[in-house]
Amino acid sequence: MGKIFCVCLSLATGLFLSGAAKAADPVKIGVMAPVTGDWASEGQDMVRVVEILAAELNAGGGINGAPVVVEVADDNGTPKTAALAAQKLLTSDMVAVIGTYGSSVTEASQDIYDEGGVIQVANGSTKISLSEKGLARFFRTCPRDDEQGRVLANNVKNLGFSKVALVHDNTSYSKGLADETREIFKTIGVGEVYYDSIVPNDRDYTVSLTKIKAAGPDVIVFTGYYPEAGLLLRQKRDLGFNVPMIGGDATNNTSLVEIAGKEAADGYYFISPPSLADLKTDAAVRFMGTYQEKHGVQPSSVWAILAGDAFLVLAEAVKAVGPDPERMAQWLKTDLKDFQGLSGPISFDGRGDRIGEVYRLYRVSPDGRFMIQ
């Protein structure tokens, strides 16, 4: 008798609870981030950014009355751990997962999320092939690597240069960017007078510079990293060779100015995703204020902010079509147009890549600061 009563009671409570939950079924969104490991500072920023946005959303009544629950899984910045993290998030019924930072880490989790039927929005994985696999529910709020070449080439043209010396350092990133840019120079009619590599860590680039000088370009395009860019600028000045130079996002590091010296770095151009201080939209300024208030510092890079953008577009999709991954993915691709995210307007193309320019043009000021143009 007692037993039957118990069963009845539990059935009743079960019915009651599920009935009550129906009214506001929480929307579960996962964050897969490198909370530990080499990129821990990025990962922790990602989590903080998403948690602040979720708290704000819930304080305002959630999405159509339903609260948002954020669950974090640590991917350690390694592909191996990412696979485990993805499994873990799938077993707790996520609608969508935000993350992650590294391209190889994202790659290891992509198929798992795809088979699990959830949406994945990567925030820092720029490798081209990630969105070339035909996965219907993969998105990213960061630009692809080939986007940078396009923006770099167009900026060179827009700045009025027509004879470029293209220099890379033979790393896969740098050579890839140089070749990408080179192709686009051909289509937009920018002439090339010099193309060669330098050897990183050689320190002495005076020979390259004298050869470039002899070739007579009106700009040097360098696609490598900041240590070499700094040396090129410094040695260029030492040789009395006054030609402007422009580079890619790997030169966005203040050490560049230290190495080159303020005088030699003055006027150097580079393109890069905007630094946080240059995100001027109302939403971004307000968000930075909240973040600063809560954590006492600013996020260390733009990539964490792009995780916040991923959260905002997902919330928007749930609001529009409900927490159904298939319909949300469709909606994000076809109906989301110029949504105002923290980093600027967001739309996605058919592959889930972000449309619209994330890269901005920077110029080093005479006192060595990076000024957005």
Partner: protein
């Protein structure tokens, strides 16, 4: 496009680069001459010199407080002294206990010392690039037609040349130099002649590192940028220079260093920057094929 000015430019590029290689190569060749040991940790002593200079000139701000000429002179003396001390300690700890064991043991010990020093430098000063600051040296450039010659380049070359000339005089005109030469030819015979070979080895391990440390400081001053594993590439280049010149031969190291610098810049200038190393090392192989002991081989005692 490639006129005479261009050639002059490459010549000056090559001599500057080569004089740094030569300074480092001297350390390899002196140690090899006396001990028949390749001191693989020598590149790290170069790095150490660069970082001591960084600490003195940038962290302690001597560059600003003393003014360039005095600060650079003072830091040269300090760096040479400190790296000489480090070299001496290295010999005491890593090589002296192994003097009577197998040569292989000493080589392994050298490799170990190299790895240890490189990581110690990384832990002490950090893995990121450090900058000397362009403000340390006045930016004076001499222009002769389209040929331009920065003052700093002249200074680097002059400093290296002066030190090498002094070393040449020391080795060939003093009794200590004679002792070093004698120990290099035959340690046993030198001992019989009343030369304290242990002291000669200790001396060589002071002079070699001191020159390497100076080279590190010059790299910092000239290029303005240093990092914890810079010794690797400079060590490799200087070792090559020592081989080209004939390892064990002091004049050979100087010639080899300058020649390697010129080979690099000329192949960069007239062939391709990307192919520079391939071309340079092909030349090295050719030299070794036709002159296996290098251009100026070590003097070996003639056996009668």
């Amino acid at each position: 496009m490639y006129d005479f000015d261009f050639f002059l430019q490459q010549l000056s590029n090559g001599l500057t680069r080569g004089s740094i290689y030569a300074l480092i190569a001297l350390g390899y060749t002196m140690v090899y001459g006396v001990m028949k040991l390749i001191n693989f940790a020598h590149g790290e002593l170069v790095t150490l010199g660069a970082y001591f200079g960084y600490t003195l000139l940038v962290t302690l701000g001597l560059g600003r407080s003393l003014g360039p000429p005095l600060a650079i002179g003072f830091s040269m003396v300090m760096v040479v002294g400190l790296v000489a001390l480090a070299g001496h300690l290295l010999e005491r700890v890593a090589y002296r206990p192994l003097r009577h064991s197998d040569r292989l043991a000493a080589v392994v010990s050298a490799l170990g010392a190299s790895i240890f020093l490189q990581n110690a430098i990384m832990l002490k000063w950090g893995a990121q690039y450090r900058a000397y600051g362009a403000e340390l040296l006045p930016n004076v450039v001499f222009h002769i037609g389209s040929f331009s010659l920065p003052l700093v380049r002249v200074l680097v070359f002059a400093a290296a040349a002066a030190v090498m000339a002094a070393l040449h005089v020391f080795i060939h005109r003093t009794s200590l130099g004679l002792a070093i030469r004698a120990a290099a030819i035959d340690q046993g015979a030198a001992k019989l002649m009343g030369i304290d070979v242990r002291r000669v080895i200790a001396l060589v391990f002071v002079i070699g590192p001191a020159l390497g440390g100076l080279a590190g400081l010059l790299v910092g001053l000239y290029y303005g940028q240093i990092n914890f594993n810079m010794g690797q590439i400079y060590g490799l280049k200087a070792f090559t220079a020592a081989i080209i010149g004939g390892i064990g031969n002091i004049t050979g190291a100087m010639v080899g260093g300058l020649l390697l610098g010129l080979l690099e810049t000329l192949s960069e200038g007239y062939i391709s920057v990307a192919w520079k190393d391939a071309f340079t090392f092909v030349v090295l192989i050719m030299i070794l094929v036709f002159r296996p002991t290098g251009l100026l081989p070590e003097r070996v005692a003639e056996k009668l």
